[in-house]
Symmetry: C2
Subunit: 343 residues, 2 copies
C-alpha cells in the first residue's frame, strides 16, 4: 500500500499538517524539519493520493475531449496537439468519440461532467442539430471550448479556421488557372464547416463573374473515399466540360481522382481538383493533391490554451471573456491542378 502523510508524520513524530505544509512549501515550517520531512518522504516513496487531492481541491487536472472520429488524419493531429499542450501544463486528457452521433455526444458530455473534469473540448458531431446539451455544460459552469466543428449559436470560446475564406481561396485559385465550369462536392447540410466552405465557393464564383449553378454542387453524406468515386462518376455523366472541382475534404477528392484515373479522364489536364485539409495521404496519391492546409496540431494546442485560461480564470473567480481564435490556412499547390493553356 502506498505511503500516506500520516505514516510519514508518525515516523518522525510531527503532525500530518506539518508534513503536508512542508511538502507544499509553506512558510511556517522550520527549515530543519522541512528537510527531514522531504527526506523521509522520498525514502518512503511518498506519492500524494490524487483521489484525496481531487476531493479536497475540487479539481482533477483532467480535461475531457470529444471528437466525432479518431481514425482521421485531421482529428488525430488535433488530439496530438491537445495532449502535447495539456501535458505541458500538467493536465491529462480523457478522449471520447461521438461517431458523428448526437445521442452519443450528449451522453458523453454528461459522462464527463459527472466525472467532474476541469474542462471540456469538443468538436461537434455531424448528427447534432440541437445544442441544449452544450448550454447545460456552460450553465453548470464547466469551461467549454469548441474547435473546428462548432455551433455558432452557442456562446463559448472557439478555435477554428476561416472555412469560408479558405474555400474562397481554393475556388479563386481554380478560376485563376483558367477553370470556367467549377463543381463543388460539399459536406452534409448541417455542420457549419460545409456551409461555410460552400459559401466561400459561391462567393468566389460571384466575385469573378462565373454563374453559380446549383446542379454543380453535390451534397455528400459520409464524406468518404467511396462517395468521392461515386460523385465523380455522376458528375461526368451529368455534365460536360467541367474543368475544376473544389472538394470539401481530401479523402473525397482522392476518391474522385481515383475514379477519374479509372475513367481515363486526366487530372489535371482534363480537370483540376482542389481538396481540403491536407491529409498526409494527399502527398502520396497520384497525381498529388492540391489542397488547403488545415493546421490540426496547432488547432489542438490553441484549443487547450484557451481552455486552460478559462479554467484558471474560473479558479480565481475572475471574469472571463470568451475567445475566438481563427487560425491561418494556406493553399498548397500540387499536381492535381494545372493552368489551362489558352488555345
Amino acid at each position: 500500500m502506498p505511503t500516506t502523510l500520516k505514516e510519514i508524520a508518525e515516523k518522525i513524530n510531527v503532525s500530518v499538517s506539518t508534513v503536508s505544509k512542508a511538502l507544499k512549501d509553506y512558510a511556517d515550517v522550520n527549515p530543519e524539519t522541512k528537510k527531514l520531512i522531504l527526506k523521509t518522504a522520498k525514502e518512503m516513496n511518498y506519492k500524494p493520493n490524487s483521489f484525496a487531492v481531487n476531493l479536497r481541491t475540487k479539481e482533477s487536472k483532467t480535461i475531457g475531449l470529444i471528437v466525432p472520429e479518431i481514425v482521421h488524419h485531421f482529428f488525430s493531429s488535433v488530439i496530438k496537439g491537445i495532449i502535447a499542450q495539456a501535458e505541458k501544463k500538467g493536465y491529462l486528457v480523457i478522449i471520447l468519440q461521438s461517431n458523428e452521433s448526437y445521442e452519443l455526444e450528449k451522453k458523453q458530455l454528461e459522462l464527463l461532467q459527472n466525472k467532474r473534469v476541469d474542462g471540456i473540448l469538443v468538436s461537434i458531431a455531424n448528427g447534432t442539430s440541437k445544442f441544449d446539451h452544450f448550454k447545460e455544460v456552460i450553465d453548470n459552469d464547466t469551461p467549454l471550448v469548441m474547435f473546428d466543428k462548432i455551433a455558432k449559436i452557442i456562446d463559448c470560446s472557439k478555435v477554428i479556421i476561416d472555412d469560408r475564406k479558405a474555400a474562397y481561396e481554393a475556388t479563386k485559385y481554380l478560376i485563376e488557372i483558367g477553370c470556367k465550369k467549377i463543381a463543388h462536392f460539399r459536406g452534409p447540410l448541417l455542420p457549419q464547416n460545409s456551409i461555410d466552405r460552400f459559401l466561400g465557393y459561391k462567393k468566389a464564383l460571384e466575385d469573378f463573374n462565373i454563374p453559380y449553378d446549383s446542379k454543380l454542387v453535390y451534397v455528400l453524406n459520409d464524406v468518404s473515399f467511396e462517395e468521392g468515386k461515386y460523385y465523380a462518376k455522376k458528375l461526368v455523366e451529368e455534365h460536360k466540360n467541367v474543368d475544376g472541382i473544389f472538394v470539401n475534404t481530401d479523402l473525397v477528392a482522392i476518391g474522385a481522382i481515383t475514379a477519374f484515373n479509372e475513367m481515363n479522364i486526366k487530372v489535371p489536364e482534363d480537370i483540376s481538383i482542389v481538396g481540403f485539409s491536407n491529409w498526409f495521404m494527399s502527398t502520396v496519391v497520384s497525381p498529388s493533391l492540391t489542397t488547403i492546409n488545415q493546421p490540426g496540431f496547432k488547432m489542438g494546442k490553441e484549443a487547450f490554451k484557451v481552455l486552460y485560461k478559462e479554467i484558471k480564470a474560473k479558479k480565481k473567480n475572475e471574469e472571463f471573456r470568451y475567445k475566438k481564435v481563427v487560425l491561418d490556412t494556406d493553399l498548397i499547390v500540387r499536381n492535381s491542378t494545372k493552368p489551362i493553356l489558352k488555345s
Copy 2:
C-alpha cells in the same frame, strides 16, 4: 453547486447513510422511503461526486493508455477500439503519447500511476531498451497489458499479432509469384516487431531455398515515407535484378512505390512490393499496395478486455494468470504484386 447526499438527507429528514443506501439499492431501507429518496434525488439533480467515490472505493474507473504516436493509422484504430470497449464497461481512457521516446514513456508511466488509474495499456516506444519501469508498474500491483509493441522479457498480459508468421506469409507470397531476389526494408533494430518480421522474411527464404543475403536487408530509422523513397533509390543503385521487396510498414512501401514511379521502374511489372499493416492509404496509392492486414480496432478491443479481466480479478483478490492473445492477420493482394511470367 452540485447536490450532495447531505442536502438530500436534510430535505426529507433522513440520514446520509439511508440516502446512500437507497441510491445503491441496499436491502435495509423501507420501500416507501426509498421511493421518496429516489424521487428527490432526481428532482435535485443529484450526481455522485466522483472524487469522493474514488477516494472511498479506491478506484477511478479510468485507465491509462500510452502509444508511441497518435497520428498513425494503425494506432488510431487501436485507440478507437480501446475507447469503444472501455466505454461499454463504464471506463474512461486517458491517452498519452511517448513519441517513441524512452524518457517520455517512463515519465508518463509514473504520471499514470500517480493519478492512480485502475490499469494501464501500453505499446512500447522504439527508443525503449530498458524495461524496469514496466516491472515497477507490475510490482506496484497496477494491472498492465502490452499490445503490438511488447517486451518479451516482461511477464504480463499481451495482445499481439504473430509478426513472424505474417512476414513469412508475405515473403512466401512473393516467392510463390516467382520473385527470385527479394529485398527487405526492416524497422529499427530494437522493437520486437521488426525483429520478428525480419525473422519471418528470413525463414521464408530458407524454406524455399533462396539464399539469404544480408546486403538486401535495409534497416530504417524513422520508418517514414521519405525513408521509403531513399532506400528504394539506394536499392536500385546497389543491386540489379531485385524483383521483390517485403517492406516493414505500408508508409515506407508507399514511399518506395513513389520512388519507383519517379524512376520509371514499373510496379509490379519490374518489381513487386508487399507492405505491412494495411493502412487506408494503401488502397488509394497507385498501384494499390499488397499488404498484411493488421486488425487495429480488434486489437484495441481485445487489449481492453484483457485489462478489464485483470482489474476485476485484482479487485476480488483473485489470482490472475497473464494472457497472451494472438490475433489473426491476412494477406491482402492488390496491384503492387503480380505473378512473374516465365519466358
